[in-house]
């Protein structure tokens, strides 16, 4: 069964292993952007222009897309390895982050924090960046433009196919817990 999800408030009801079609806004952020998010949120600074990015309402997508070819919304935009963001994630969860999309396993600390703060971690089609681009309906830069492909973009996606990897009860499909 595939569950349609349009609101992050329903994230906490998802169970590990479930297939999801997600529609809504997601924010790209990978290594260097995470370093800055932790720094800026820690200092109470607004993120990006007009403090557009609110961690409590954001879903983070671990992704650095290729450039959009002429006439396209975005280039290839599959997920990157999530575990590289593990050291920054518990802090962001504490600050209100409710959803993350990426590929691969997470650390014990991240799983614990996902459970504690009732968040969710989902998998996107790994290594399928051209396919994922088809689900992106809008893309706009939000913060850290100097990071180039690692800047934060706001993406609007429609029916993006995802799999729940770690649910709000801390259940992990990779069976580490």
């Amino acid at each position: 069964m595939v569950i349609e999800v349009k609101n992050i408030s329903s994230f906490k009801d998802l169970s590990a292993g479930e297939q999801v079609l997600f529609s809504g806004a997601i924010y790209t952020a990978r290594d260097q952007a995470h370093k800055r998010l932790v720094r800026d949120i820690g200092k109470g600074r607004g993120i990006g222009k007009e403090s557009f990015f609110n961690i409590k309402e954001a879903v983070i997508y671990y992704c650095g897309p290729t450039k959009a070819p002429k006439g396209k919304i975005i280039g290839s935009c599959g997920p990157t390895t999530s575990s590289r963001m593990d050291e920054f994630t518990p802090f962001l969860l504490k600050k209100g982050l409710k959803g993350m999309i990426g590929k691969g396993r997470r650390s014990k600390e991240v799983i614990k924090a996902i459970k504690k703060y009732k968040a969710v971690y989902l998998l996107a089609p790994a290594g399928c960046g051209a396919l994922v681009s088809k689900y992106v309906k809008k893309a706009e830069p939000v913060a850290y433009p100097d990071l180039g492909p690692e800047q934060v973009l706001r993406l609007e996606v429609k029916n993006l196919p995802l799999i729940v990897a770690i649910d709000s009860k801390g259940k992990d499909i990779y069976g580490q817990d």
Binding site: Q19, Q32, C63, G64, P65, T66, K67, A68, P69, K72, G75, S76, C77, G78, T80, T81, S82, S83, K103, G104, R105, L123, P125, A126, G127, C128, G129, A130, L131, S133, K134, D146, L147, G148, P149, E150, P161, I163, I173, Y174
Partner: protein, 279 residues
Amino acid sequence: MRVIDAKKITETVADLCLKANCSLRSDVLAKIKSAYRKEPDGKAREALAEIINNAKIAQRERLAICQDTGMPIVFIDIGQNVRIKGGLRAAVERGIAKGYKKGCFRESIVCDPLKRGKPSYRGAVIHTEITRGSRLKLTVMPKGFGCENKSVLRMFLPTVSIEEIKDFVVETVESAGPDACPPYVVGVGIGGGADYASLLAKKALLGKLTNDQRPTTNDQILSRDLLKRINKLKIGPMGLGGKATCLAVNIEEYPTHIAGLPVAVNISCHALRSATAVL
């Protein structure tokens, strides 16, 4: 002496960057399709269908197969009777910049590995080899770093058993787990020194992914045994379990010193990309 203009090299490298990044190698695609046919499990099968569909979209729309358009690794075999008119390295770098720009590929290279900074296209890894004859062979391999990060080199004792080497290769894949976009292709380099074993492991990924039903050479037997053992790990496509954890194991060997036995493992994600041209 045959003279090859550096401009010709630039054009060829640019074309190879586009081809490698947008058209999945036919031998890789054939392996994925065969894995799809054999996969009974629902989610793993769906993941393989997505990979096949992704390759189709990339090819049709000239989109990068993967957003990680990699660190470009360039292998150049230069015939000893060839003289290059112009600078070789500059010609290759210009070709990469041209191809990557045209394809709208990602700027994934930081020029200072410690300070990092804004990424660009500059900084390909170039391996040259002098060969006989008057041809110049160029191969571009865009290597993604999700899987490159899982590479391991181990310096074994010369008295090690083959079983210990097999264990090492299997454990390396097991430790990569679901993180680096399985099903994988595993390159193994055995022999040489530390540097050369690592190079061999990567070069092994360039070899055609064949299906040795009846292996005859020691290499073929070893690669078949490793493939069987790795697929028993049941990591599966996207780490969702299932049969296809590894599409192929390719092995390259070279003489080594009496005091040692270097073994390197270089893992590729399912999007194993490379393209070759001969001038």
